[in-house]
């Protein structure tokens, strides 16, 4: 059949046309072998642009289409649909990337950019001539989702999915749901009680018939692909039988060991058998094996004697469970910046230099002081200074904005002022960023309440003999150096990726950005999707965000997962390997190379020959390059196609 190629060179407004001479490229494309029509179009991806292609396919009887535009990552699927709607097989398309990889990087070399665009179009036409129609693979999916992380993001995503009828496995590393939100006292700007909005949701998760809650557990292995992931979860031994434990706390009362309580950021003590906080879900006690005297020295067992239900079981072992899911939502949160890394601020050195999270615990009714904000000497502070952006927006530490610090400070300043209006409150800031619904109004309210805002970065903090903290700060607004002496300094620390991100990145084959947070497939159009299909992100592991934004993103991730799994099947690319049994010698090199065990030996005319299992093949092509007899071929990336591209890119006249 005669090859009839249509070439469409996109202006992308001025994104491409401002650098590349698109008319010249289209004119040139028309001279290439097999090309019957070549045009330049202002916005090829628009309805109008796609319409032109559809009409041409019919009018010129096109059977191959080349689009020179943005990255195929952006619109290849859009244009495949264009072909399909015009009755052409969607795999008869080739995209030349002349925006991300030409006009945007060679914007000062217009002639060279135009020449390069011509070469890329030449190669795309050469490949397009060799394309073959392919049928999409349809694979069944598991209608279940794994949610990693039991903070507010994971909780919200799990509830949305479970309410929609999907089976959800929620895996949380710590003994209880809740995450960082559980540590907060109030939420901005409405001063809602954090526990009052979070704990009912935690209970909903535990009670939901569609949710399997796996706390004190970690994901250790992920295999498979979209719709069919096989996940191994390590369930750590609590040394307490969850079925028997009623959460009465008699064991903790009896436990003689006291250690710093992580939930209160070390401001209070807990026992070696504990629940992280009184509203924990599930309300089951956990033995901390590092601090338990029996686990360490083989003596004690007072908890065993105290438990009225015989729930404590030191023979428990960690166990691995396997689950199958169709999609995965990653909601593993963040950690706060360690303020000790900025020694001049005195954190860890002076008792009355604390962090925002510590103030949150101090102000909480369930916190170590029963809600009283007190200095280390147990007195109500007469003056408090907040220091913003500790570890944030500073290339020496973390370049990014923590996004919640300004509002967290305003909220905490409000809590102080509400309780004692006479307390002096200062806020030393770089910029106040209060963009959000009702946030600016809240900021104004705090100004009206008498909080003093100082536009400047403080110098070293020193402690006077009377225990007061002293520092200087140049106030840019009034152009004066101020010296402050306060009873308490609160450092608003930034948000950082945790060590777990790296492990998950490897397990899930996803990317982290340069800051170390999980990277979405597209910053604007696919903000919750990973580049690996079937994996989604929610909450601060994607980038710092507040609770409202986290909840919105979690619901978005749930909706995306639901959309993916609701049909019960997914379409996957038919770009798989195949074997020519006539050439294959049955040497099995490919069998060893394939990472998916997708190649097996099968009988062919009385001999053992390699055979690709389509459903397992992921289309990497490792086998094709490894085959010593060229008996393997990768659809969409065939030997002929690649060689044609190489030749076309080098040659001046095309092939």
């Amino acid at each position: 059949m005669e090859i009839r190629v249509g070439v469409y060179v996109c202006h992308c407004g001025t994104n491409i046309a401002g650098v590349v001479d698109v008319e010249e490229v289209a004119r040139y494309a028309a001279t290439l072998p097999g090309v019957v029509v070549a045009r330049n179009i202002m916005y090829t991806c628009s309805d109008q642009g796609q319409g032109v292609i559809r009409e041409d396919i019919k009018k010129y009887n096109l059977n191959r289409v080349v689009i020179a535009a943005c990255s195929p990552k952006m619109h290849e699927s859009t244009f495949r649909k264009t072909l399909e709607s015009a009755g052409l097989n969607p795999y008869l398309l080739e995209v030349a990337n002349i925006r991300e990889q030409v006009s945007w990087v060679h914007f000062r070399e217009k002639e060279k950019a135009t020449e390069k665009a011509k070469a890329l179009v030449r190669a795309a036409v050469a490949k397009a001539r060799l394309l073959e129609p392919l049928e999409k693979k349809i694979v069944p999916v598991e209608r279940s989702v794994l949610v990693i992380g039991g903070g507010i993001a994971g909780i919200q995503a799990a509830l949305d999915l479970a309410d929609a009828g999907l089976k959800v496995y929620l895996v949380e590393k710590s003994p209880s749901l809740g995450g960082h939100m559980a540590q907060l006292n109030k939420t901005f700007p409405t001063i809602d009680c954090a526990a009052c909005i979070l704990t009912p949701k935690m209970v909903d998760v535990a009670k939901h018939p569609n949710i399997t809650l796996l706390t004190y557990s970690e994901v250790v292995r992920v295999e498979g692909y979209v719709g069919n992931f096989e996940v191994t979860v390590l369930r750590r031994a609590r040394y307490v039988n969850e079925k028997l434990c009623a959460g009465c706390g008699a064991c903790a009362d009896a436990c003689p060991r006291k250690v710093p309580n992580e939930f209160d950021v070390g401001l209070s003590k807990r026992k070696a058998i504990y629940v992280p906080f009184p509203q924990a879900v599930p309300l089951k006690y956990t033995v901390d094996p590092v601090n338990c005297l029996y686990m360490k020295y083989g003596r004690c067992k007072l908890c065993v004697e105290a438990c009225p239900r015989g729930a404590i079981d030191f023979n428990q072992k960690d166990e691995e469970v396997k689950i199958r899911v169709g999609a995965i939502i990653v909601a593993v949160g963040f950690k706060t910046f360690d303020a000790r890394r900025v020694p001049q601020l005195g954190y860890g050195k002076y008792k009355n230099v604390i962090t925002g999270l510590e103030l949150e615990r101090l102000s909480s009714a369930s916190g170590p002081t029963g809600g009283a904000i007190l200095t280390s000497s147990g007195k109500k502070p007469e003056s408090v200074a907040f220091i913003q952006c500790v570890g944030s927006r500073d290339l020496k530490y973390n370049g990014w904005c923590c996004k919640i610090g300004c509002m967290a400070t305003l909220k905490q300043a409000f809590l102080i002022k509400e309780e004692s209006p006479e307390t002096e409150v200062y806020v030393c800031y770089i910029d106040m960023r209060t963009a959000g619904k009702g946030y600016e109004e809240f900021y104004r309210r705090l100004r009206d309440m008498g909080v003093r805002f100082i536009h400047g970065v403080p110098s070293e903090i020193l402690e006077d003999v009377d225990g007061k903290l002293r520092f200087k700060v140049f106030d840019q607004t009034v152009g004066r150096l101020l010296e402050l002496r306060v009873d308490m300094v609160v450092l608003q620390t930034g948000l950082e990726p945790t060590e777990d991100f790296e492990k998950l990145r490897k397990m899930l084959n996803v990317s982290l950005n340069s800051e170390g947070f999980f990277m979405e497939a597209h910053p604007k159009l696919q903000p919750v999707e990973a580049s690996t299909r079937g994996v989604f992100f929610a909450g601060c592991c994607h980038s710092p965000k507040d609770i409202a934004e986290t909840v919105a993103q979690a619901s978005a991730a749930a909706a995306k997962a639901l959309a993916l799994l609701s049909k019960g099947v997914v379409e996957v690319e038919p770009l798989v390997a195949s074997v020519n049994p006539e050439i294959c010698s049955g040497c099995e090199v490919c069998v060893g190379v394939c990472p998916y065990k997708a190649i097996r030996l099968a009988e062919h005319e009385g001999r053992k020959r390699a055979k690709v299992v389509d459903a397992l093949c992921q289309g990497c092509g490792a086998c094709v390059a490894a085959c010593p007899s060229n008996a393997l071929e990768l659809k969409g990336f065939t030997e002929k196609q690649i060689l044609a591209q190489i030749k076309a890119l080098i040659s001046e006249v095309g092939t």
């Binding site: 990255s71 195929p72 990552k73 990337n97 925006r99 991300e100 990889q101 030409v102 945007w104 990087v105 060679h106 914007f107 000062r108 070399e109 060279k112 950019a113 020449e115 390069k116 070469a119 890329l120 190669a123 990145r505 490897k506 084959n509 990317s511 982290l512 950005n513 340069s514 990277m519 580049s531 690996t532 770009l575 190379v593 990472p595 998916y596 992921q618 289309g619 990497c620 092509g621 490792a622 094709v624 390059a625 490894a626 990768l634 990336f637 030997e639 690649i642 060689l643 591209q645 190489i646 030749k647 890119l649 080098i650 040659s651 006249v653 092939t655």
Partner: protein, 140 residues
């Protein structure tokens, strides 16, 4: 006319191709001497593709994939690495400078690294001079 090296680059779609796209999105300039061929995994690149490119007059070949341990296809990039080592030996025997073939790891977030690699490579190829096979290259 001064010599302008021509580089054929095979980029894996998951990491390096995305890294090159990110360089574009971030408007990081690099020399226009590079021509990219998209592959799903760097392990699809057969040493014969490299030889074919050199034989037909490319001055350099870049193969770029995900960082070791990060391959979207489990371990494809390790295969790329091993094949490249063997290919280097073969190039020496053929009298072609092995420096004309580079294997690099560029992740999706390393747009800046991609731009830097291309700039460095083109500069190195400028110093090396034209591919000796160029004058004998077959008529295409």
């Amino acid at each position: 006319m001064s010599y302008e090296p021509l580089v054929i680059a095979f980029l894996c779609f998951w990491c390096s191709y995305s890294g090159a796209d990110l360089a574009g999105m971030s408007r990081m300039e690099y020399p226009a001497n590079i021509r990219v061929i998209k592959v799903m995994c760097s392990s699809r690149v057969d040493p014969t593709h490299v030889l074919y490119a050199l034989k037909n007059g490319a001055d350099g070949v870049l193969i770029s994939g995900c960082h070791p341990g990060d391959c979207h296809y489990v371990n494809g990039n390790y295969r790329t690495q091993r094949r490249a080592a063997l290919l280097g030996e073969m190039l020496k025997q053929l009298g072609i400078e092995p420096e004309r073939v580079r294997v690099e790891w560029v992740s999706a977030s390393e747009g800046e690294k991609f731009a830097r690699i291309v700039s460095d490579f083109v500069e190195e190829l400028r110093k090396l001079g034209p591919n000796p096979l160029k004058k004998e290259s077959v008529e295409v």
